[in-house]
Assembly symmetry: D2
């Protein structure tokens, strides 16, 4: 397509080689609605990536869209630093009423710079300030961002290497289920109890309940509870990084709902604005809300447009149980269809939970080939895991049953085709 | 005002104590246009803060507004990760044509997470990766953000203290004019030449040409050129952090235009979207564009809405010389009116250049009292500097002569009133 | 005793509170010979501490003593920086002939500052220089010294706390047998293979084969071999810290002899001078001997007096098999007698191997009470382990069977007395 | 000389390439007395290096020698950990009576591992523990050792590079006289007062009064006093590293005597044993003696042999004024003779003070050529400074006038010869 190439050339000529997703999904996207993306050539794609879980309510939700247009048209504040605005008030009120209060959470809401990494940086700093300790315990295969503080907690070696400098202040422990035969919580307990283990008393223990980038490793509620108890026992804060797994992704607003734990700090970003707009926040128990005015600051720490859509998202999807109850069904649907994929690939394993499930197909090459083929056939879907070995479904939570079915059909066709070709190649080689 | 209090209570109850500007400007803002903010009570304020230089083209510029509404109404992409989109292409093309190409800059554009701190983090990582060295030289009173990597380069002790952990990887040198009798560039040269100085060969030398947060300290072109030459001689990259001083703030698009230097890396944020939307970028010479795909990544690294407004901003204000030539006049106006303020305060000093000027009134208490009084009278204006001793004017660049005059009149009245009261108090005390 | 008190007062008045052993063994020692110490009051003590394994050949060995006196009397060099001296030549020749050559070791000998910590610091720096990597993998309960580089590798929380600063550059993994059910080598393998584990590719893996300070934890030969293989596979150096376990302490000159591994680097100190004089060295494979002249230096890096006695020690004890074969017998004797102690304390466990054995009596208070009682009865013996829960025997290797018997008799009497009193106290309390 | 080569081969074959002084002074030394060294070939050398100031009382002082032999012959303790011994008591008593008490110093004496680096590591840890702060301010061209903590404070780039890792926890400021026109103390004051300078409130300010390795840069008493006052004002400890400049080297026992300052911590090593034996200590004001028992420990932290000779050194040389008054004369002699050298070399400069003086001859090549020629003629003398550009005289303080004269005659002959040859070469080239 000539048009595409012409347009694309500006990216090649001027955009940094750090660009990434555009390489696997090599077209120019122009519009999107619900679970569908459209490119410059008019082609439609089903979106099983959802901005890496930033579009849990789909693209351009009509209610959020209307509210945002009304706000802009009425000269609503676009940039407000951390001034009081009616839009921030609107968001806080809705978040208080529908999310925090029902859970008995008295956490304060801190608006950091509107990226997940920034929320993580703030959380780590808070934990250090509260405890006077330095080390944060993070886990194998965790992902928390790539700024220097957050990157120290991130497990991925490729991203870590980008620092080109030592990453300090984090002690690494094995995540739940990391190694056959290893009780990860028992090991954590052992090193914390042992005054000579070399694992210093930590400022915080920080984890994702489901490691989205790390390969959809889902911790058990039991593990989370034991970690929470150990944090408390050893004077450390419990930080749950719910940036990818939060906002309904696992089937409830917080990924730790109904686990019987209450984190001291929760980090949120991605889908919190509802509309894909940059927004991040840190929930922190009031007794640990220790930053002085602007001690952790940032120019965009209140993205007012995001407050508008975030309020609508909360009011529309979380004011009652309807939305959440639909997620149960969809979880089953996803599990069923991914099981078909798993059945297709010997040695594969189901991963994740809720609406962040996937299949570990055993090799990054295979997972990547399946996703590439699916894209050719109109499905945007990505891999995750240390070797990219997991085919990961992160569709909008609002995806209809029909669209799910279409998407999974494309995925299964792609998988069958790729596996078939691989078998042919193997036979030919013999 | 009862309404205000009722609304405000949600902030006190739920927003973190880290909130800051809302303390000095204690009202609830609801709309804004051009150089004016309006609050819930219908009161108008002239804005001499401009989102800390994030609103260089004023609030809700009608052309950007129209383009953004059109984009949203048409289901344009809201969140696109770093996929190719028509809006990103539009921005890059405009930025290439009107900003980079005319200056002969072949820099690549890297879209980092949409905060200045994130751009700085990326810049520091690039410099370390390119050189294999660890230390970044930063300067007294510099401000580069509060995430752990950037915070190491930030001079402000209050922000540094928020880390509650050592901040490594930065060597601190004196900024231009830091101390009477000290030739800061000569000192930099001495420690770099001396193999035993304890200042290791740096990965980069990073500076603002005008230190916005640090007190409107403006480096001379000569200083910048000597620093650039030393960076080159010693194999270090030159990073100019143009987050606050860029986008026309000093009178030209880049604050280093016409200084005879070409930075290896430029960081931009704040006004780059034109509309106050979160957006940040790193300009990097192609030979130093060393990150692999997603090696430095982030969910919001392409804020598509911001691309829409940023393109309009470039096309509207920087396609020809008209806008820039207006800035010359405004610079003079600002200087003239601030000189009146300086004349009022014995021992005060003019600071800054272009449209980021201010007056060092010698004490943080005095500066703060003047700004508080101005706010009472309908002017939003802030202080800067290590003790908050500088009254800083950061009005939208698009502010009309009339509005400037009104604003400065309020400021002068406030200054006279505060100084008068202080004199009265002093007399009474005698 | 009046004399003792008078003399002791200078220590209380002028010596830093950091002093330590003198608190448990509160007398003033004046002379020593073989396995016996004598105090100012003329009382003799059997020494089961041996300068923490610095006196493996006993106090004032007559042959070393004679050689040293002859050297001093003849105006032999006392301080020679790292100049060539006849005494250094003598030591190197003996060490080459009797230690390195017979084992096929082509390692270079680096004389660092004469402390174990300094040898460890040098070893860590070498590994980083060779590999260009930063992290050293060290193990739970390891002890490697208290200078900042070495302390990062030390596990003990009390010592780590003394830094009052973060200790960077070390990743902590579980030692062999650290936790029931955990295959420590398999875990090490897992994190090294996993590109997303957050355990970066290490510069070195450093360990003691028997953790002397950490509680006499003895690694199996199988564990050491697997660690060695993993180090090789992952491009990391293998550092064996043989400071406490070397020089015959485990029954052979190196503690890893006959384990089927060849470390890239070995650190030695403590008994290497033979006479208790400060001396340390680093053995490094020639291809990793990467320091330039004086790149790691130190004023006392060649303690000439120590070279004199170290040469005699090598020639006297290691020129043939006799000494080593005696150690087999002594190992058995120690094991037998310590088993009696273990039988006495329910739940206790035998620890260590060779002539660094002990009994974990389950509580630091009990271990400490036993050692205190033993001292009253003329035996110097210490505890080790994270809670000081291990009664540790580190007698001179040259201790005669008779003296061992006397010493163990005192120890058993002390243990019986302490346990008896505890039982009485318990009965009385009931 | 065949013998020399044969012996030397063991060094080449087995000693690490890190060996250094033996390269410039390539012979095998066998004995030494007073200010003279003798090699295996029977040749005598005048020693103007004195073990880098570790042999301030010359080689094998007869009184120390006799006391040490008597101690060894009588089975005195050779290794005593930090147990109380009569020898430690003897040293402490003498040090108290003749050094501390007369100066009104109530400092506690901490025996660290017997190297200067270890004393510096302990001092830095104490300062951090006392203040709860992290950064130590150290100066350009300072030298404090090469273990990771101390190395961070050392300025020399070659040694720093040996770390192959970032060196954290130190902020670098300019030493007195570092740059023409720069008032170094005023700059220190400015950054400490400025809350936004980026120089954090330090745990300590650490300096040498004369930078021995850094080029014999002598700070003025005024500078030291201003630094001391700033340390006090800003809650930082003042650490004077007197390892090279102490023990009479500058003409008084401490290099800061009569400067009107009292350091909170003093580090000593090198000549403190008097005999060249490894020994180091930290003097610390009692209120800052904060280490718990063994919190900073080390096997050789009490080198008993060194206590024996150190006691004799104190009693022989510092019990009255005689020795010190001789140093005045010798200082003049050295200055006079070095001035001759300075006159010989255009553009050269006198450096240092007391008995650590030298001449900056402007180039490392020239300084090195002069020292090499002097060695050929029987004088051991070394260079210092960042480029090795300073010919440094560090003779034993006990050197007689006659020997000084002989040594300087050799030095002047060497200088004249080298300069003459250079002139010839230059003429030939023209």
């Amino acid at each position: 397509m000539t048009d595409k190439s012409a347009t694309a050339s500006i990216f090649i000529r001027r955009e940094s080689d750090a660009r990434s997703y555009c390489r696997g999904f090599d077209t120019v996207f122009t519009s999107a609605s619900g679970s569908y993306l459209k490119d410059a050539g008019g082609r439609e794609y089903i979106d099983f990536l959802a901005g890496c879980s930033s579009l849990n309510y789909g693209h351009n939700d009509p209610d959020m869209k209307a509210a945002l247009i009304e706000h802009i048209a009425g000269d609503g504040i676009a940039h407000g630093l951390d001034l009081h605005t009616d839009t921030k008030s609107g968001f806080l009120t809705a978040f208080d009423e529908h999310i925090l209060a029902p859970r008995g959470m008295d956490h304060k809401v801190m608006f950091t710079g509107p990226t997940g990494a920034n929320a993580v940086e703030a959380a780590m700093k808070i934990a250090r300030k509260v405890t006077g300790r330095n080390d944060i315990i993070a886990f194998t295969n965790g992902f928390h961002g790539v700024t220097m503080g957050a990157l120290a907690a991130t497990g991925n070696g490729y991203h870590r290497g980008g620092a080109s400098a030592p990453l300090n202040g984090v002690m690494r422990l094995p995540f739940d289920g990391y190694m056959e035969g290893l009780d990860s919580a028992a090991y954590l307990e052992a090193v914390l109890k042992d005054a000579s283990s070399g694992v210093d008393a930590p400022a915080a223990i920080m984890l994702e309940t489901v490691q989205g980038e790390g390969g959809l490793n889902a911790a058990s509620a039991d593990f989370i509870r034991r970690v929470a108890a150990l944090a408390k026992e050893h004077g450390a804060l419990l930080i749950i990084d719910d940036i990818q797994a939060g906002c309904g992704r696992t089937g409830s607003f917080f990924s730790f709902d109904e686990m019987g734990v209450m984190p001291d700090i929760v980090t949120m970003a991605k889908s919190v604005s509802g509309f894909g707009l940059p927004m991040a926040l840190v929930l922190v128990r009031p007794e640990y809300d220790v930053f002085g005015p602007a001690e952790h600051n940032g120019t965009f720490r209140g993205n007012t447009h995001a407050f508008v859509t975030a309020r609508v998202a909360i009011e529309k999807f979380w004011a009652d149980e309807r939305f959440q109850s639909e997620l149960v069904e969809k979880t089953t649907l996803i599990h069923t269809r991914l099981s078909e994929l798993a059945d297709l690939v010997p040695g594969s394993a189901m991963k994740g939970r809720g609406l962040m499930q996937g299949v570990d197909v055993g090799s990054g090459d295979l997972a990547s080939a399946i996703c590439a083929r699916a894209f050719e056939n109109g499905l945007v879907i990505e891999t995750s895991g240390s070797e990219g070995q997991v085919v990961k479904v992160l569709a909008p939570l609002t995806t209809s049953k029909e669209t799910f079915t279409k998407g999974f059909d494309i995925l299964m066709d792609a998988a069958r085709a790729v596996i078939g070709e691989m078998a042919d190649t193997k036979i030919a080689a013999e």
